[in-house]
């Protein structure tokens, strides 16, 4: 009787029987790849030629000075191809898919970031690709859907449940239980049944390995604290893994505080007290659920953190106190994003801006000879619709209204058989 993939009481593989052999196959492939030095070499090679790894660390000169206290550094995952750390995981799973001889990939996506990354990987590797995305998210995130479709992916709008990320995950599993023979499910974060949490963390550990060395090279010492936002937990696991054995480094996971405490208004599973331990989507962790175990609606300004569960490995680190969890509210996050854009010329994704918000809150209390490191998990420029709404820009609204009027005119023109000049 196999019972693996536990981190204290969290994790496991609560999967339909039909996927058992698929998971066995995946676990073997993963363990073999992990044992095979040439696999990691191939992965590094791919990431350094197709994306731009090693991504740099950047000192935030202006904000370090303005805030006083610790010097602030950012690990620049935003510079990855497709604009976020998601690329690391996806390319790794792409190599694994090839190794398993599969020819099709599927994935869930919330904000669209993981969907775009997976569609990109599929185009690169020549895989067929289907992306499941909540119908709500499809409507909100058309730019990402547009690019996925341009990459040749089929984007399925999931109309079940809350029509967001968790429903897309369920739907991806439903595809998988039908097509497991030729299909690999590229789960997008360090959640889901074993071996996903561990495997995704492994691919993302490239962040932490690089960042630790870079901090030593550039500052001569380890940072006092490392901040990462926590959606499913993959970027956090990625950067934390580099420092988890360094007792002197405090690790801080920042969740979506949304509109503040109280179920339904946020997505903070560990920082607030609203989540309880449960089992869903194939694994055991803290979930935002009701007394019956039904999953509850969550809220965050950032679609990528707006999720009911959290990596079982992070739940474990929460219990062992190896990671401190905090939450940043929507307002704090938008403020932190705008400040970073304005004073550093960096555009952190709203997700990443959670980590910035917490770092900005803590840095002034620290000593000037301390350094802190923020994982800038992605860039926001692709999320302009969300960001423009978050900062409530009237010029943007006018632009969209004008553009829409043009399209409506254009459609009339076309109906009348006129081309445009």
């Amino acid at each position: 009787m196999r019972n693996s993939g536990y981190f204290s009481q969290f994790g496991g593989a609560f999967i339909p029987e039909i996927l058992v052999s698929t998971f066995d196959e995946l676990e073997s492939a993963y363990l073999e790849a992990k044992d095979d030095d040439s696999f990691w070499k191939e992965y590094l090679e791919l990431m350094s030629t197709y994306s731009c790894r090693a991504t740099p660390i950047t000192r935030l000169d202006n904000l370090s000075e303005q805030l006083g206290g610790a010097s602030i550094y950012a690990k620049r995952e935003d510079l990855n191809h497709t604009g976020a750390h998601k690329a690391n995981n996806v390319m790794g799973q792409g190599l694994l898919t090839k190794r398993m001889g599969k020819t099709r990939v599927i994935a869930e996506t919330g904000a669209g970031q993981h969907g775009v990354a997976t569609a990109t990987m599929a185009a690169k590797f020549g895989f067929d690709c289907t992306i499941y995305m909540g119908a709500h998210d499809v409507a909100r995130q058309r730019p990402n859907v547009f690019w996925m479709e341009q990459m040749g992916a089929t984007v399925v709008a999931v109309k079940d449940g809350s029509q967001t990320l968790k429903d897309a995950i369920n739907e991806a599993f439903r595809d998988w239980v039908t097509n497991m023979d030729d299909t690999h499910y590229v789960l997008g974060t360090a959640c889901g049944p074993h071996p996903f949490p561990e495997m995704v963390s492994w691919f993302q550990s490239i962040i932490g390995t690089e960042a630790r060395q870079q901090m030593l090279d550039q500052t001569g010492k380890l940072p006092s604290r490392v901040y990462a936002c926590v959606g499913g937990g993959s970027n956090a696991m990625g950067i934390f893994s580099g420092f988890i054995d360094d007792k002197e480094v405090e690790l801080v996971g920042v969740e979506a505080g949304g509109r503040g405490r109280g179920v339904g208004g946020h997505a903070a599973r560990l920082a607030y007290d609203d989540a309880t331990i449960g089992v869903a989507q194939g694994y055991k962790t803290y979930f935002l659920q009701d007394k019956d175990g039904q999953m509850q609606d969550t809220h965050s300004v950032s679609a990528g953190l707006d999720y009911v569960g959290v990596s079982p490995i992070l739940s474990h680190y929460h219990e062992t106190r190896q990671v401190r969890f905090e939450a940043a509210t929507d307002d704090e996050v938008v403020e932190a994003m705008q400040r970073t854009v304005r004073h550093e010329g960096l555009i952190p994704a709203l997700e990443s801006s959670h980590a910035f918000a917490q770092a900005y809150r803590e840095a002034p209390q620290m000593s000037p000879d301390e350094n802190i490191l923020i994982n800038m998990s992605g860039r926001a420029d692709k999320d302009i619709f969300t960001v423009a709404d978050a900062v409530d820009d009237p010029k943007w609204r006018d632009f969209i209204i004008t553009k829409a009027a043009e399209y409506q005119m254009g459609q009339n023109d076309k109906k009348q058989g006129n081309g445009h000049a």
């Binding site: 009787m1 196999r2 019972n3 496991g12 593989a13 609560f14 999967i15 339909p16 029987e17 039909i18 058992v20 052999s21 698929t22 079940d160 449940g161 968790k166 995950i169 369920n170 599993f173 439903r174 239980v177 039908t178 097509n179 497991m180 309880t276 331990i277 449960g278 089992v279 869903a280 989507q281 194939g282 055991k284 979930f287 659920q289 007394k291 019956d292 175990g293 039904q294 999953m295």
Partner: protein, 259 residues
């Protein structure tokens, strides 16, 4: 699971009279608890031999669109675990066929596994099907079920190797639920020679009665299964009929199958 359960006994007795039993499935609270009661009544009257009562869950990952939607609607209409248990208690007391719970593990986990199993026992539920709980993850559950002599039913699939079938069978009681094809509930299955071979393999790997589900929906399907399995499971199709033609149409449909 060394001992024979009450469920297995009941099945074996019925099989003395009929070559192929019929098991149906409903989602408790869909479209309402009153309707659930009425559908059960109709089904029992129409000659159904045993039934799965699904306690709705917000994330039914192994279910297809029809049952998925029924879960969501039941919850939206206010279904809770407690209400589901209460209606189940009433059903069990009113109708004299074996009933099982079908639900996802988080319902048990949140309720407390031991408490949930005790409650099944006290209600008179004879077994459970928990599709996201492989034996390796469900030791507590298996122990509790065994202690209460209830039947934990596990699933065979076309992807399941022989040794895994035997392992599942060793951890099951009542019967084995054999799914006729890959995929989620409620999609088409081709009843073919491949399927016959697969069912023969299932038989070879368990001594428990064999139920076959996923896609059974006509008299022809039933005929095909006769002799190859012990129980035909009709799941999504009855819910689809409720959805399309209303609660009152279920009886006629079930009668057409058992006719």
């Amino acid at each position: 699971m060394p001992e024979q359960t009450k469920l297995e006994l009941a099945i074996r007795q019925k099989l003395q009279q009929k070559k192929l039993l019929l098991m149906t499935h409903i989602v408790l609270g869909y479209p309402s608890f009153d309707d659930s009661l009425r559908v059960v009544e109709d089904m029992v009257k129409a000659g159904v031999d045993l039934m799965e009562l699904q306690i709705p869950f917000s994330e039914p990952m192994a279910d297809g669109p029809v049952i998925l939607k029924a879960n969501a609607e039941a919850l939206k209409a206010g279904a809770t675990v407690e209400k589901s248990l209460e209606i189940a208690e009433r059903i069990v007391s009113e109708f004299d066929i074996p009933f099982l719970f079908m639900t996802y593990y988080n319902i048990l986990h949140t309720y407390g596994v031991n408490e949930f199993v005790s409650r099944c026992e006290s209600i008179g539920i004879q077994g459970c099907i928990i599709p996201d709980l492989p034996p390796a993850e469900g030791l507590d559950y298996l122990e509790a079920m065994q202690a209460d002599k209830l039947a934990p039913v596990h699933i065979f699939t076309p992807n399941t190797p022989d040794d895994r079938m035997r392992f599942l069978s060793d951890n099951s009681a009542g019967f084995i639920y054999s799914v006729a094809r890959k995929g989620v509930t409620g999609k088409e299955t081709t009843f073919s020679d491949d399927l016959s071979d697969y069912l023969a393999r299932c038989r070879a790997n368990t001594t428990l009665p064999l139920a076959v589900g996923f896609g059974v929906k006509s008299r022809e399907d039933i005929d095909f299964l006769t002799g190859k399995a012990d129980i035909a499971v009709v799941g999504s199709e009855t819910i689809r009929i409720v959805e399309d033609q209303g609660v009152s149409a279920v009886k006629g449909f079930v009668e057409s199958l058992v006719a």
